[in-house]
Symmetry: D2
Subunit: 397 residues, 4 copies
């Protein structure tokens, strides 16, 4: 068998997740890192013919030009993450992959994000259709130039402001008609998703942004016989909620209130500091507990940007519950995690599993990937362990 | 169908768990409490013909004479638990059940426990065989006097000091021979277990004490065609360990160390303050994490008696784990629970499920009850959710 | 010496603080409670001729009619606070003091509070001046009827919405002129403060509401030769901030960020759930850290109403600081306190100390009481221990 | 004025504190670090003529040969501490100071420590007197070779096992007599202290080891007209205890129990894993709370070596206290600090302040340095802020 070549295309490639994926992938290829935090390297998944690390070529879009080595080195200096030795050893890939990064396509509705971009780099487009076209060209060029068998596009960019639902989201024909008229009926994330699916590539929405989470784009995926998954990766506090809530349910405790406060720094935190960008994330974090318990305790979630936290996130959750004979008890937890390090291995998991699904001829929403997401499209199960069983059952492992 | 009558016999009936079971059962019968914290009242278990609350008669042994109403009222005054209105409303049952409590049988090897007993109440026995005989008589009297169809004996007494393994524990014939010679080859908990199983009654070991956890007693259960389960109920910190460790495993995190500190007051805390009594509990708490992860991180568990905590227990756990690219992260939790309130509903669950198993003709160790125990006899699975699936699968719910 | 008789008049007497003061005072008089939590009963303050518990008569205003015994009994049933035995033993005082509670005076600007009141109880007034007059009459009636030597008025009512600054707040003459014109230049809390000071009584503002914290009312206190203190009692999270921040300063740590999240239930929580009422409290909580450190780290404070918490408040604070060689370290604390129980003893402390100050001929702001307040009027020192030294120095203890 | 030259001699120079002092001092000299965490660089201390960073020469003893640059680089790689750029920039000093480090003197009573040493490096001595003599020679050589005006010896070595009290500790004459007989009446830490004081140098005991904390050595300091201070630096959990306990006292709360659990890695943790070495540290941590409160709540302290923590220490404290009307409340904190980074700046503070005291003609125990120690010799005050006032008062700042 000739060597397989696959492309992992990151929307927001120069962000902290994107650059960690770049370093991680390059390190794994070289045997310089162990795949801790990657689900698909657990022993039970070993027998699946998933893409090997050395078969993956990295590319992507970003709204600002940047330099992987510099990003990683700066973060090392500021926050102590990564190892300089590893960065140096991986320089060849980092430089090579960097040359695959294409300017992002900008529509005028994302002000806060724009302030981080640079006007002479971004591809300004006059209409949504033109955006889709340009993104599609970038993806096809990547495939051809690197002679890739498959491509998976993963959105790891900053969270968008909430985009209002449109009637035309319901059906592909209506969506196409509205786009043909130049109407602003899709946010940027969905334009990228459209372009990826339209070109027949797999698409994964790692963020709370809209992406492919509308019926019209699910239809497009069916038409183009490709796959997609999302939305909003479950990396920290929400992961714990979907692990702990099932215990409260199984032991028949009555959860009275569940309060979660998140503080985080870094670029992700900065964008979330704008209430319009924070809203989709908050909603995504809120519903899992009620869904698992089967009733709605009082819940409260906050996300605050605290600059000194840099790449770290601390969540404090306070769970107030009633036990036997009306006795009120409390569980509290704090989770101190580095988001990029939690996210990057899951990006690679999702890329490998999406490509595998597509290669097996699956089409449409990959519901068996629900365990990776806060708001899994097309799935109502939020219990992490039930979702993990769904994954293993589907894969036959 | 004539009304079924079943007996719930508690070893250590006047302890905090025992008295909470008494109040709880009486309250549930009267519709004065909701069965929060009871697994068997979850909707999926409703279709099973488990014993109804009003079908259950309470009895037990204790090393000291006492008064349910007084115990409950004193605890209310000191620690704010229970409601006086509920205690008053349940007085009839509390007084009636109290008259079923028989003096415990004392062997001279349990000094610390003895200081809590009273010499003119306890049944002093001269040999282990005599102890077994007297306990058996008490149980059979209870069955006859109350015209019970079935009895389940649940050990909710204080943790014993660790009892050394004996060669005769391996086979029933050898055990019987040693007992016939008057040899001190069994701790008190196992004498009660012997008596219960020998009389054909179900037996549940809610504590870390030895109880029926030796091959010879498993053999006795087979011979007498009865059932038993244990050991050491999973109510708080260990429950959380067996809920969280599977998440660390499923996400391929590398747990570096898991430290758990428990502080508690009350009678249970007082007895555990003696290192000899603490040891079995510590061991029971230690192994679950390694078993689930498949490797052994550094673990440390402490249990300390802090008088001011009264009936409450606080656990602080610090979990240090490695994520992607060697990044160390931390999860901490504090669990503030009232042990008696966590334990009492599980005692009733175990009683109902054991009686049901026996009535269906099951014999021997009830492995499907593993989710209730820290050290489930005959089961190597420690993952709480896997254990919960085992329970539901076995019961067909 | 004839027995001294003093009056403690509580604005918001039927709230959780007010009713706890009533039970506490009655219990202390009878020797049924020990004065834990009261600063003025520390040994060093024993030599001061402060009002004895049995010399204090309780009265007050409230916007709703209520019953001390019922409030206390209900709270006991719902939240386990207080002892029924103590409530019963104190019934005589509770009933007697209850008859001293007068209907609150309502202006139409306090909607949320109004929903808790009752229209046939409250004293509706047509102008601010009329309100002041009616309040003054109630106070003078109390003094005369109970033959009191002194009265101290303490505002323990719910937090008002923030009241905008007015030009006429600067000078008493201007304020009087505006009031004479019927202008709504004062919030309710300040009308009560005006009435108290105008009648020559001591006034303490236990809340973040405006109260006497404007120059015109300070002037009134001087004119009437009486004393006042405030504002916003320091009972929990802010107390800890003013205890811990001095340590970070003294050890020359660089505090990078200080995040504090508060969750609480009860009536206080309910009113604070309205952002307009929350704002003054938030401001009062924010500034102490910066003031003590001498620079402004990033700070964030939230207060959320969580119904299940009832009378309890939990604060979680996350302090991120830099140590030597740029090393970032973290301190976190959780404080689980019952606000009424923390506040009530301080109300009695402030009453005793204000009456004592007035009896010694002091006039104006009682700056030496700064250690009791989040926003001490006229004092820039926020370090709790410096404030405590100020108290002891002033009192010569 | 000719440039002053002072020597800072570290017992245990190659430990984590010692190497951090070396890097810190070299960085401060070059303006590459800011003196965060150093008390003596607070603005109020600026006017004192304390030794400048560039006036300090570093030397010391250690039981193993080592290399500052290597130690620091290894720790950077393993635990992310320090900056490689800073280490490189300071190389000249690090190499130069390293050549001042002399082999430690070993007596056969410190087994666990010995396993870390190297037999061809250490100075084996046959008697305590010989040890004192050799240490003294090393110190005097240092002074002469580097032409130093003053020397301060600071013990930053691992904690010794507890050394039993001896009759001869009471008076210098008796001690000298016992030493002359070759009796093992002093632990290693006290031999170093003897040598330092006997040579007229200042001595600071940063550890819980015995050091100079016996009357006979206090007498020696008086005779030689030199100064000393100790013992056991207050860097983390105990610092917080002595900050928080005064608040509980000032607010008249009744502390019921105070539980503190410490987990730490690194060399310090390793040595403390031996119960004999842990004991002095535990005792030093226990008494401060009772001393401040004036009564003895139940206390419990644990220190556990958790390898994965490396240079970090996490303390979890659970403070259970009673408020008004018997209401039990709880405060918990976690402190996540890097011990070497907390300790190193205090070592420099203590060095500067001891040298200053000696230069001003002070003699004997430096009681005004109490705020730096868990068990301040000759001082009963444990309240951190009272101690800090003592420091400022004594220095007139």
């Amino acid at each position: 068998m000739a060597t397989r070549r696959v492309g992992l295309w990151l929307i927001g490639a120069f962000g902290s997740i994107g650059s960690t994926v770049a370093l991680g992938l390059a390190s794994l290829k070289r045997g310089l890192a162990s795949p801790v935090g990657m689900v698909t390297t657990l022993s039970e998944f070993q027998k699946l013919p998933l893409a090997h690390f050395e078969e993956i070529e990295l590319g992507g879009h970003d709204l600002r030009p940047d330099d992987f080595t510099k990003i990683l080195t700066d973060t090392h200096a500021a926050a102590g993450l990564y190892s300089l030795a590893q960065i140096n050893a991986c320089k060849e890939d980092l430089v090579s992959w960097q040359s695959n990064i294409r300017p992002g396509v900008l529509l005028p509705c994302e002000e806060r994000i724009r302030t981080q971009g640079q006007d002479n780099w971004i591809q300004l487009v006059s209409s949504p259709l033109q955006a889709i076209q340009k993104i599609g060209e970038d993806l096809r060029d990547f495939k051809q130039k690197k002679q890739l068998d498959q491509i998976v596009v993963v959105n790891v960019s900053s969270t968008e402001t909430q985009f209002p639902a449109q009637n035309c989201h319901a059906r592909l024909a209506d969506l196409n008609q509205a786009l043909a008229k130049g109407e602003a009926v899709l946010p940027a994330s969905s334009l990228y998703a459209y372009a990826a699916l339209d070109a027949g590539f797999a698409y994964v929405n790692f963020t709370p942004s809209l992406g492919a989470s509308i019926p019209a784009l699910a239809e497009l995926a069916e038409v183009r016989k490709t796959v997609h998954a999302g939305q909003d990766a479950k990396t920290g506090e929400t992961l714990l909620k979907t692990v702990l809530a099932p215990m409260f349910a199984a032991r028949h405790f009555k959860v009275l209130s569940w309060v979660g406060h998140n503080i985080l720094g870094g670029g992700d935190g900065y964008v979330l500091d704008d209430p319009r960008n924070k809203q989709p994330k908050m909603q995504s974090k809120e519903h899992s507990v009620s869904s698992i318990l089967g009733y709605k305790p009082q819940t409260h979630v906050s996300i605050e940007y605290i600059e000194s936290m840099q790449n770290w996130k601390t969540a404090w959750d306070h769970i107030h519950f009633e036990g036997f004979l009306g006795t009120k008890m409390t569980m509290q937890f704090t989770w101190q995690g580095c988001d990029a390090m939690l996210a990057a291995p899951l990006v690679m998991d999702l890329a490998r599993l999406s490509l595998y699904a597509q290669s097996k001829g699956e089409v449409g929403i990959l519901k068996h990937l629900a365990c990776f997401f806060k708001s899994p499209i097309g799935v109502t199960e939020h219990d992490f362990f039930q979702q993990f069983e769904m994954l293993k059952d589907h894969l036959g492992v």
